[in-house]
């Protein structure tokens, strides 16, 4: 088996007395799309933030292309970030900048493109996510939720990264717009030949965008397998989660 693109081993993280990640082990294959499933507070977002370098884990290793990211210098970490794209749950667009500057932010910040050429590049990338070039002149506050997600996607792919992260890409969208965004994600990831990592609790979305899937529960990976098999994995936890059943091994922590 070839070397995984991203390898997590024994990843642990606590916030005060609360243990959020309790030894996460996960391999993500190069050029494939991995979906990490899990309920609210299960540690999905923290895992993603650890890989992105936004949170330092308390223990464990994160390897990308065989290199332990904890040992990277600041310059090497920046170089790694240059190859990473990220779509945030709420878009996280810069509201002081017009859409075209948001889309080409990384290219402009690294002076990989002149400001004049950036408008054309933004129009090109906006077209890839189904938006007209005229949207480039609007500000994020003038866009609908679905359009903000598309602009966020355009920003994530504008620098042609080889790893793309998606944080709950369909949350807050109607089912049709959710399917549209999923379709765009699949198209973009295939076109770039990128490795994708998505976190979601939307099962339809997970099946549409994932090649592989992993389930995280109480800070541990409890199952990995093919995304297509979700709902009939034979793992009681995953099947309960996929079917959205109240009864099963996963018990919601409700105060009675």
């Amino acid at each position: 088996m070839s070397e995984p693109k991203i390898r997590l081993r024994g990843l642990a993280k606590s916030f005060g007395p609360k243990l959020v990640l309790d030894g996460v082990d996960l391999d993500i294959r190069a050029g494939h799309s991995m979906v990490i499933l899990g309920g609210s507070g299960s540690g999905k977002s923290v895992t993603l933030k650890c890989i992105l370098g936004l949170i330092a884990p308390d223990a464990g290793t994160i390897e990308i292309d065989g290199r332990d990211v904890a040992t990277l210098s600041r310059a090497d970490r920046r170089a790694l970030n240059d190859r990473i794209g990220m779509l945030f749950q709420n878009g996280a667009l810069f509201d002081s900048l017009p859409v075209w500057e948001n889309v080409c932010f990384k290219l402009l910040a690294q002076k990989r493109i002149a400001r004049g050429a950036a408008r054309d590049r933004a129009a090109e990338v906006l077209a890839q996510v189904g938006l007209a070039a005229s949207v480039g002149d609007l500000y994020p506050s003038e866009l609908s939720g679905g359009m903000q997600k598309r602009v966020g996607l355009a920003r994530a792919i504008a620098a042609e990264p080889d790893i793309i992260f998606f944080d709950e890409p369909t949350t807050g969208l109607d089912p049709i717009m959710g399917a549209v965004i999923d379709g765009l994600i699949v198209d973009c990831v295939r076109r770039l030949g990128a490795t994708a990592v998505s976190i979601t609790h939307d099962m339809a979305s997970a099946r549409r965008i994932g090649d592989d899937a992993a389930m995280i529960h109480k800070g541990r990976i409890v199952w990995t397998g093919a995304a297509a098999s979700l709902g009939q994995t034979g793992n009681a936890m995953v099947d309960q989660f996929a079917r959205g059943e109240r009864e099963g091994p996963i018990e919601m922590e409700l105060r009675k």
Binding site: K49, G53, R78, D82, M86, F88, L93, A109
Partner: protein, 267 residues
């Protein structure tokens, strides 16, 4: 039974005091490291000139009306107060000297600093705080951009350079306010008032005020950025950050004013 209970209370009080002191020291250390990092980017490319200019215009140009009005009215009040006060021992002639010295050395920089703290410190804390709670700062990281270099350094540099300019304007308008009251209400001859003003004024009086202004500009922008950068807890957290930025900046301005005055004028 009484003694252990009393001992418990003393220990609880000591522990609470200790926690407070540690939190304060941690805060001071955090601000110091944050400031050092922001300043280190002043000499490390890439530079964000466009963001510096935007912040400079925001601070220097858009704060001008409020600083100008404050300076004019302060100069007018100062002339009236010193005239009526000094009349008690026949020293009305010193009004022009008192006005120019008070404005250039003290009131110009301090009042401009406090006005800018209310306007700019709060705005920076709210803007950066909102960026923090909406993941925009995390987005900067993922877009290979250092958030401190991008958000903080241009603002601090702009504040440190803009406030002295605002104080030059405040000095001129403050003296004008005094002159206006002196000549129109208190019966001074215009030429004599201005001669008394400029004969008495030393370059160091103005320069010391400008040094203070640069320090206050640094403090206001640093605290605005720090409070916003470290905010959390949604809209309520941003509100708290905004209040903290204004309160901390105002107190620090007054404290640093004393320290700088002691350093520059103590004999």
């Amino acid at each position: 039974m009484r003694t252990p209970r009393r001992l418990d209370r003393v220990l609880d009080l000591t522990a609470a005091l200790g926690r407070g002191v540690i939190a304060m020291l941690r805060g001071i250390g955090g601000v110091a490291l944050f400031a050092a990092e922001a300043l280190s980017h002043v000499v490390r490319p890439p530079f964000h000139g466009r963001l510096f200019l935007r912040a400079f215009v925001e601070i220097a140009w858009f704060s001008l009306p409020v600083v100008a009005l404050t300076a004019v009215f302060t100069g007018m009040v100062l002339a009236l107060q010193s005239y009526t006060g000094f009349a008690r021992f026949n020293a009305e002639g010193a009004v022009a000297n008192v006005v120019v010295l008070s404005i250039t050395r003290e009131l110009g920089p301090v009042l401009a600093g406090l006005m800018v703290a209310g306007r700019i410190g709060a705005a920076f804390a709210a803007e950066i705080g909102t960026m923090r709670v909406t993941d925009q700062i995390d987005a900067l990281h993922t877009l290979s951009t250092d958030p401190v270099k991008y958000l903080v350094t241009p603002r601090i540099l702009a504040g440190t350079l803009a406030l002295p300019l605002l104080v030059v304007v405040a000095d001129i308008l403050g003296v004008m306010g005094g002159w206006l009251i002196g000549t129109q209400q208190l019966g001074f001859a215009s030429g004599a008032y201005l001669k008394a003003t400029f004969d008495f004024l030393q370059p160091w009086d103005v320069i010391s005020g400008l040094i203070k202004a640069a320090a206050f500009g640094f403090i206001v922008t640093l605290m605005g950025c720090w409070c916003g950068y470290t905010s959390g807890g949604g809209a309520q957290g941003v509100g708290r950050a905004t209040t903290a930025a204004v309160v901390a900046s105002s107190i620090l301005i007054l404290a640093v004013d004393y320290v700088l005055t002691a350093l520059m004028f103590s004999r």
